[in-house]
Amino acid sequence: MKFKTFAAFVAPSIFMMLLFIAAPLVSVFSQSFYLTQPQFETVEVENCTAGFLKQTCVTEEKTRPILGDDGKIVTETKYVGWQSYINVLEPERAWAAISAGSVSALLSIDFWKALRFTLTFTLITLPLVIIVGLALAVAVNNATRAIRGPVIFISLLPFIITPVIGALSIRWLFVGDGIMTAFLEWWLQRDIALFAQGWTIEILMMGYRVWHVAPFAFVVLYAGLQTVNQDTLESAIIDGASRWERLRYVVIPHLMPLIIFLSLIHLMDSYRVFDEIIGFSSEAHVISLQWLTFDLLTPDDSGNRSISRASASAMLTMIGIIILLYPLLRRTWRDHKGTS
């Protein structure tokens, strides 16, 4: 295919990606160094109230936003350097907390709190998703053909459901005296409030995420199982390998590329954990990096959005993604150089 034809085919898609992905990245990068604020002026105001014989007058200094000719508040954008990053990271407080050895003080700063949760969430759900997915794939592969279709159908439901709604449906089972909480209370013979502290919410969130993503791992690994070489399996049986040994030494090595693929997808997706925070309304206890940026972008009570701080937090989130993807990109690059 000639370059010109190729360019004509990919141009619309590239244009969209440049305009709506690459350009916003540049814009976020520059926004994080600038701060837009309303301009204020200080004026002396004399307030007089009617009094007997003589008016009582008080003169005071007042700060008010400057209004432009069109009646709108005049804003001013100025270069602030790393200030927004410092506002997000709060290095002084963080450093004081670290040198005092107090983890809870460090985690009282929003960014570090969000980072801590995002990383724990990613690292704990990863092995669970792979294990549940693999177990399901093996079990379905061993089952009779007739039940495979229905099992796959039911398994797809948690995967396809809107994430916010999925999180909500789990929450309604556990919230207050919901059916599952009532069951747990009856079973353990004690009072349980699952939404009163952070760690129980985190467990519920991780449970939700495994419920939501394991079907994806299951379907992918199940498709992989269909391509396992039967001859190798038979020779393993002749060599006297037990079922477990066959799984360990024949099947899992065959599935390894898929497991790596699933892990990468899962790392990318769970690093962006966000919908759970909304579904479980857990802002007070547990927050994630993406939620932090979302919160800074949402208008506050006076209708202002802290765009500059949000941009700084977004850039910091980006750095995490780059660290996460670096090994993958290096490997792909090496493969590409090897083939061409």
């Binding site: 909500l168 449906s169 089972l173």
Partner: protein, 385 residues
Amino acid sequence: MSTPRAFRQSTALRFSSAGFLTIWCLIAAFPIFWIAVMSFKEPIDAFSANPLSVIFGPATLERGSGLSVPDILAGIVLLVLTAQLAVKWLPGMVRQYSPYGQVWFGWICGSLLLGLAFVLIFVGALPPIMNVVNSALGSLGNPVIGLTTEHYSAVWWENEFYRNFINSLIVTTGVVTVSLTFGTLAGYGLARSGSNLAFWILIIALVFRALPHSVLVAGYLPWFINSAEILRPILGDAAPTLYGKPFAVIAVLVAINQPFTIWMLRSFFQNIPAELDEAARVDGCTHFQAFRWVIMPVMWPGVITTGLFSFLLGYNDYLVTSLLLDAQNQTMVPAIAGYFNRETTTTDQVEAVAAAVSITAPLFLLVMIFQRQIVSGLTAGAVKG
């Protein structure tokens, strides 16, 4: 079918794996099933600690709304009939009446008609008929299971959820059509070109796919809010404020979805042998003609699968739509956040449940109809690397 003896499973293994699958199916389906049951009950029943009273709804029954045994039987018969029609009669009718080459259009019309007829009979005709039947039957016609649809009518009519539904429809339709149009072109180009440039485009797309969406939205917001002033020198007074406009959100979602779309479509295009385009080229087609008249007709499965995933992205999105759309153009998923945040009475909560079920129902239908395409889509990118 004879399996070699060594492949046969011991009874213990078979039982434990069957048990594991049963438990998984229960866990997978239970939360969805449960919210569906809850949405039809009075608040006292819906949030009762006793599961039996959630299912049978004594408080709902006391209020006088419920289903009798004949009601349930009639409902089941109607469901089975519709399913039979859909499986046995619909394919023949579609094949007979749709114009040649537009079978997919016939399918869309056919299933819409059948669905509409079902809803009309189920919601419109069945209740009055069953009222007469129940009163004729005497004590057999007394309701046994509590069930009320008042939360649905409250959500859809009084709270005007249908507006959010229409907005969702606009956004998802836009996202699916635009991203498929751009995606098939790019996917075909990338699949047929082995150049370094194509490789780099794919790698950059992979990096873009990993970006958290909030990062991108942080980039759009200031521009979208001020777009009228920024664009005025170019477009004059017609310059729109992009913030709150559905078409702006469609553009954003298409762009966010594009990396995934081109990866998936590329892997589908690679499955189509290149000899096919070469034959078309020998016959005198240009590249574009070959793409349009030779490759696209055999690409429908891949296009449908990718379309499904674009649909899911547009439909399920919370972050982008809640930040970039204003209240009157809000789609369904962000709108539901309004319900559970204001949750003051238990009635509000059950209404939120009903709204959640309304959002899930189309997805449920989607899995039923397109199960095979979804599975092939999930495995397309993975198995071939």
